[in-house]
Symmetry: C2
Subunit: 505 residues, 2 copies
């Protein structure tokens, strides 16, 4: 894999000096075109052997191009705000917006390689990390991002010579690498695991470019040309991501017309006394669980979806009422803002994730993609079709970091909805809750039923199951929501306890 | 100041139960109206004596109103990301957007009171903090924010009784107050300094409301009614902030037609050899200063303003070229995004402030308010007139936290601009740089001259002086910019050294 990067590539100064001016102009032009189009972001990953010219190349790119449109991101020590959230959060928050370039130095690849070389974990964990990166990059590309991955390479001999030269240069002495590159063994391991990583993450949508790092002219010209070609190519593409869908279309309903939602018993109800007793019991239990010291290693995310007027707001208020307002944060999801539209779809949810010990309630959620966006045609089928697996990835990632995810679909029947709409129109302070949109959505009742069925089938996982809530009776729904949350917390705590016990033995 | 809040205010349950439903409905209606209008944010500050019902009130407000439109913010321990930035950064980043409500618990008042009661500092520092808060709130109100400040009060006797009751309540045992309220002395001091703070920060635009905290019915009803009245009042105001300007208008030019910019000698230039030598010298000096270990206690902010085509971009690139791209961040300022428009004017700059040791370059800056916005009439005179002092406050605050601020106006004459515009239109990769807007701005040349004069007169301060850069010769300009930055860094380091020395003796 690194063979061609150890053969002594070199470009003489004359050729270099002759080629650079044209290259620079073309790069600048491409960069301004990128900014004008604002159609996609460019992400440049810089990895490789110590001393192979990573830092120099970043510096050069900033000189050649307009640095005002480039963001250089380094990921050293995690801050405490980052440590309190899933590992990928720090990358999500640093993504460049459409029209801009982000150079990621010390990215997810450096992290997994350092960990493996250091012996912090073995191959299975490395492979998990590789797999996650692959999915992350695939998602970014599907969202339109243009990714360049550069691996700067040196042979062991070349590296040793280079490190010696750098050690004498005061401009470089301040750099700290977490790995001890003076050791032969470090190089060997790095190259070995590096090959594994490159092999498995070099994909059509985001291939690796291995660059021999010895000769600065060769290195710079090669990187510049790869960038230019990739940029020009992407800028003239008419469409950002594949619109065509290879899979057969999802049937809007089953051949026997049966739907998952039919299986719900919407007559379930609680009388007032039972409700008040059970509500208070579950609220107290919830309050206790949230103050449990095991909660410090977890966080809670609840996503509320449901038919219009199904009572999401009321259920959320009963959940919130159990807590001190400092423990939770409610995020109402409406149309994305300009800043949010300039980022991948899931970005707005990533940035709202709770820190350890905290609770975020999403009033509507990332499932909008496969509900309203699917039904209203706000995004092409290719986008919402891939959303199912992107969402599963997202929930898996955040679960792994200790976030407990609960998801509710509050279901009512069509008649109940009608009655509630009419009632809302009559109560002054509820008039705001009912709009033309609500009436229009109602006409799409069946389309929503189909979409909900698909959504639950494809995203109800062991890690994060859907809970369908019979909500014709608001009391029943509220108690069921709280009880579900409580069970999820208890299960998570039990699992942690078991793990802790296992470690003790 | 607290007399009326120790007289045993109370409301019987019957009255309370009778009044609450109407109050809640009206509050909800006001809240939805607020969301619909999206004209201003609501900020609610909660302060006062321990045990006087602060937490309970926040909880109640979340129950009475729609919690999805409320953000409860607590400010406990600073995170390391907050510690690396000016103290007010943590409040700026948590401001609610227009149409939303933010409840700030543990806000700037708690911080200053705790510090003073603990004896961390004396009255002069307290007064500085008071003064800063005043200016901050004034700015927020001028930007349209509606601020409520509640002080929950108890007499000492009442507090002791209350703390005893709370100690027995398991739901409250987890609360930690950084002050030891069991001590009589704590109460006395808190009330003493509290009075000082309330007296000096109760202003027409954001008065304090002192609420007796003993009786929950009284407390809740009072807070609810104050909120409702304030909200209703603000929602029906036709204009958010005073449009009328009391001061006489600024003359567009001096009676003798002389302008500060006339005093510049635009013939200043460097020949190529001098330029190259001096540029390299200054870049090396700059690189060294940025790696100086004293830089760890500072950060650097450079704001670039100037005539169109004055060479801001080129100067910025020469500055950046001296550094490792990981040390700096360039922020181009264009029209604000939707998220930014939902916040006070300075918000977008606050959020880009560098952490300790880092450098942020603003390509155009917060001075847009008194330049383009003033001249194009993007904001009423009242807004840009107050901007001068808001900007001075902003720069003073960030300077105090160790940020070194340098500001450049790159000046060219009208003929030079014309030549550069024409040249740009001919070079392919520079065509992007010249737009219709540039030609239109050129017609307003004299208006800009006047505005620049006013800007420099009003915001060139000892803390953060303006540097006018003669930029007809790009070489001269670039070297002057770098040299100015270097001097600013050296001066700041010398000051730190002197301070350190003083402390030693």
């Amino acid at each position: 894999m690194f063979e061609s990067a150890e053969i002594g590539h070199a470009i003489d100064k004359e050729t270099y000096d002759a080629e650079v001016p044209t290259l620079r102009e073309a790069l600048l032009e491409a960069q301004y075109e990128l900014q004008q189009q604002k159609r996609f972001p460019v992400i440049i990953l810089i990895n490789g052997i110590e001393g192979a010219g990573k830092g120099e190349t970043i510096k050069l790119l900033n000189e050649w191009m307009d640095p005002r449109l480039i963001e250089v991101r380094t990921f050293d020590q995690q801050t405490d705000e980052e440590l309190a959230r899933p590992p990928a959060w720090r990358y999500w928050r640093m993504l460049p917006a459409k029209g801009r370039m982000g150079i990621f130095f010390g990215n997810w690849y450096s992290q997994m390689l350092q960990g493996r070389v250091n012996g912090d974990f073995k191959d299975p964990v490395l492979d998990q990390a590789i797999n996650q990166s692959e999915r992350f990059e695939k998602m970014l590309c599907d969202e339109g991002a243009l990714i360049f991955k550069f691996w700067f390479h040196l042979s062991k001999k070349q590296m040793k010579a280079r490190l010696k030269a750098l050690a004498d240069d005061p401009l470089h002495s301040w750099r700290i690498s977490p790995l001890d590159w003076q050791q032969s063994e470090t190089y060997d391991k790095f190259v070995k695991y590096g090959e594994r990583v490159l092999r498995r993450t070099s994909r059509d949508y985001a291939p690796w470019h291995v660059i021999e790092g010895v000769d600065a002219h060769y290195r710079s010209l090669t990187v510049g040309k790869i960038l230019l070609e990739g940029l020009q190519n992407a800028l003239t593409r008419s469409s950002l991501h594949p619109d065509k869908v290879n899979a057969a279309p999802l049937p809007t309903q089953a051949v026997d017309q049966m739907n998952l939602l039919d299986s719900l018993d919407l007559t379930l109800r609680l009388d007032k006394d039972d409700y008040e007793e059970q509500l208070i019991t579950e609220q107290a239990r919830f309050s206790g669980l949230m103050r449990d010291k095991r909660m410090r290693r977890h966080a809670l995310v609840a996503a509320f979806e449901g038919n219009d007027a199904a009572g999401k707001g009321g259920a959320i208020r009963r959940v919130a009422a159990a807590l001190d307002p400092r423990q939770y944060n409610i995020v109402p999801i409406a149309a994305p803002t300009e800043d949010e539209r300039a980022q991948p779809y899931l970005w707005r949810f990533w940035r709202q994730l709770p820190a350890k010990g905290k609770f975020t309630i999403f009033d509507r959620s990332w499932y909008g993609r496969v509900l309203v966006e699917r039904i209203e045609g706000f995004c092409p089928p290719a986008d919402w079709l891939r959303a199912y697996s992107e969402i599963n990835d997202f929930e898996e990632q955040i679960s792994q970091s200790g976030i407990i995810v609960v998801k509710f679909w509050l279901a009512i029947d069509k008649q109940t909805q009608l009655e509630r709409f009419q009632a809302r129109e009559e109560i002054p302070f509820k008039r705001f809750k009912i709009t033309e949109d609500d009436w229009r959505n109602r006409d799409k009742w069946d389309a929503y039923r189909g979409a909900v069925g698909d959504m639950v089938d494809r995203t109800s996982t062991e890690i994060s199951p859907w809970t369908l809530v019979e909500a014709n009776d608001k009391r029943w729904a509220r108690v069921k929501v709280l009880r579900t949350i409580n069970r999820a917390l208890e299960e998570a705590f039990e699992k942690s306890d078991k793990k802790a016990k296992k470690h003790k033995h």
